[in-house]
Symmetry: C4
Subunit: 193 residues, 4 copies
């Protein structure tokens, strides 16, 4: 089965997710710099979520470049991944409800959705490897020892626990995890170019 | 007429449908686990609708893989199918208005739109078969005796009637019908690979 | 310049327009059949607008099938056409504000946007003919004597004037004009197949 | 790395941005011409933002026509550009909050986002040139001496400063800068055709 239409549908879904979050940016309560500045935390959480959705699109793009085939299992693994990604506008909005400072539960839930999205990436990877030559293929070798996919869930877990003591620190950790992903996976890129 | 652009437009419409439903996920009324838990039925109905839209996309993908040609009639049958699918965000929202427990009429209407979408799939199938070799073609043979397309409308009908006695049971039935569709049509998949 | 990306962008814009209109379908004020039935005019206007946007997509698809080249002028003519089409969700919502019966001014404005969209189709047609062989080309011949593009604006004009006497009649006329377009342009289709 | 999927994703994001702005067009407070006319400034700002997003899509299309390759750096430069573009619905809405006449701070912020989007175009251009033959390539030559990319930021800066004295003049300047961009870059177009 050709991978083209799964890519096109994923592009559409991610394009809508990344864009509708701006609808949640409430207007400042007055036409002043002070009112705009009071919404800075809301803006920063928008930047963070935009970065996460953007890097997932980037990684999806790199991953799909490295494969040839998809099948029914891959389609469902992809939809499962998109499901968790689709919750980002919701968790971002809830995080913003409690500004200026993030509240513990929404901060933890934001991290939980980050964690579940990261975990949902694994079956997508596995089904793609199975459909493209199995564990001895170049794709499987290229993805062996991916330290980022190990470090990220640990970072999210630490952020989730910290949310009940210092939610602002959780947000810093979420931002740091995003930062280590800003560089796309060089191995995949190298394998393609 | 090439099928590519009809696929692209359908991907766009379904991508928007599946994603804007998250805008209907109202924020919990407080930043607590209890408030989040109180919205669990809303979340479950989001999961159900996401699954339905996702499986329709999957089946559309499998179906279009099996054909070569589209024509003006196919385009209109496709738009007619997309029309009913586009009502999912509306029926999902209305179902959620009456939480914690679903109310009879919105539960029945949710099932009616499920039923009409399933029925709208039939002219899409028929016009595609006509445009691609008719009833003696491989596509027509591949789709003969599709028990799921017979069982599903019966399930929706039972759910619609039950809505006036035990709406929660209707939702269970809608979920069960979705479950039998989670496996994509092996015959079509086999016919393509 | 290849026509592919203009088609893809147009598909995206029309997919969003046709889908976000469902966000304007307000929930019935109660979970009853009576409340749902009271919103029937709102539903009918959704059907009408969905049909119009759908048929414009269909005609755009047929038109672009008949050409090979696009240029900068075509891109702008296309954006100008999409601008008027993008106002459909707004005029549909305004029409619905005055239900059960449509109010004169919103009914007239609905028709004015229909009229301007139809007029914006003309420069798109002209620039495409110029970019693809000019007035002696097969495309220009295929589109000569297009009675629908003459009848439609007259229908809209009659609807706009009638809006100040019997707005419900205007809506009937808008629906009749949509009906004559439901059959795609056979000449273009014939020219392609 | 093939440029196709970056184009498709960008088309999706820009299609959503340009279309969801219509959701911000609040309905007139009454079903009268007078109420509609009172919202004329809101409509004009919608036209302006639609034109800006449309011309950025046009220029993106022309630019990508002139290149062959993209890489990881280009993807991030593109996302950075899309981030600023995604703020247009927000700044347009805020500008409209203060109608009939635009307020100083929202007018300045509208210009700041215009300025930052224009500046975010530069790294996109640079990374594309680097990935496609460097400063001695035809692309780099084709873009040398682009007076519009110099004049536009100056126009935005003047508009931002003027916002605190005569916001309406700022809007006129923003519209004039848009007008000089309505003609696509002839050099790129010529280089492709």
């Amino acid at each position: 089965m050709h991978k083209g239409r799964m890519e096109a549908f994923t592009d559409g879904v991610i394009a809508v997710i990344i864009t509708i979050m701006v609808l949640e940016l409430k207007l400042p309560h007055a036409a002043t710099w002070r009112a705009l500045l009071a919404d800075l935390p809301v803006f920063l959480s928008y930047v963070l979520s935009f970065a996460y959705v953007g890097l997932y699109w980037n990684n999806h793009h790199h991953l799909l470049q490295a494969v040839e085939h998809v099948n029914g299992r891959v389609l469902w693994a992809n939809l499962f991944f998109l499901f968790w990604l689709s919750l980002f506008p919701f968790t971002t909005s809830w995080l913003n409800e409690s500004h200026p400072m993030p509240a513990p539960v929404p901060t933890a839930v934001y991290g939980i959705v980050l964690l579940l999205t990261a975990l949902a990436w694994i079956p997508l990877l596995r089904t793609l490897i199975t459909a493209n030559g199995g564990s001895t293929s170049g794709l499987a070798r290229a993805l062996r020892g991916d330290w980022k996919t190990v470090v990220s869930p640990i970072g999210y877990l630490v952020g989730i626990v910290l949310a009940f003591f210092a939610p602002i620190l959780s947000c810093v950790i979420y931002a740091l995890v995003a930062a280590i992903w800003l560089v796309p996976d060089r191995r995949l890129e190298a394998g393609v170019n």
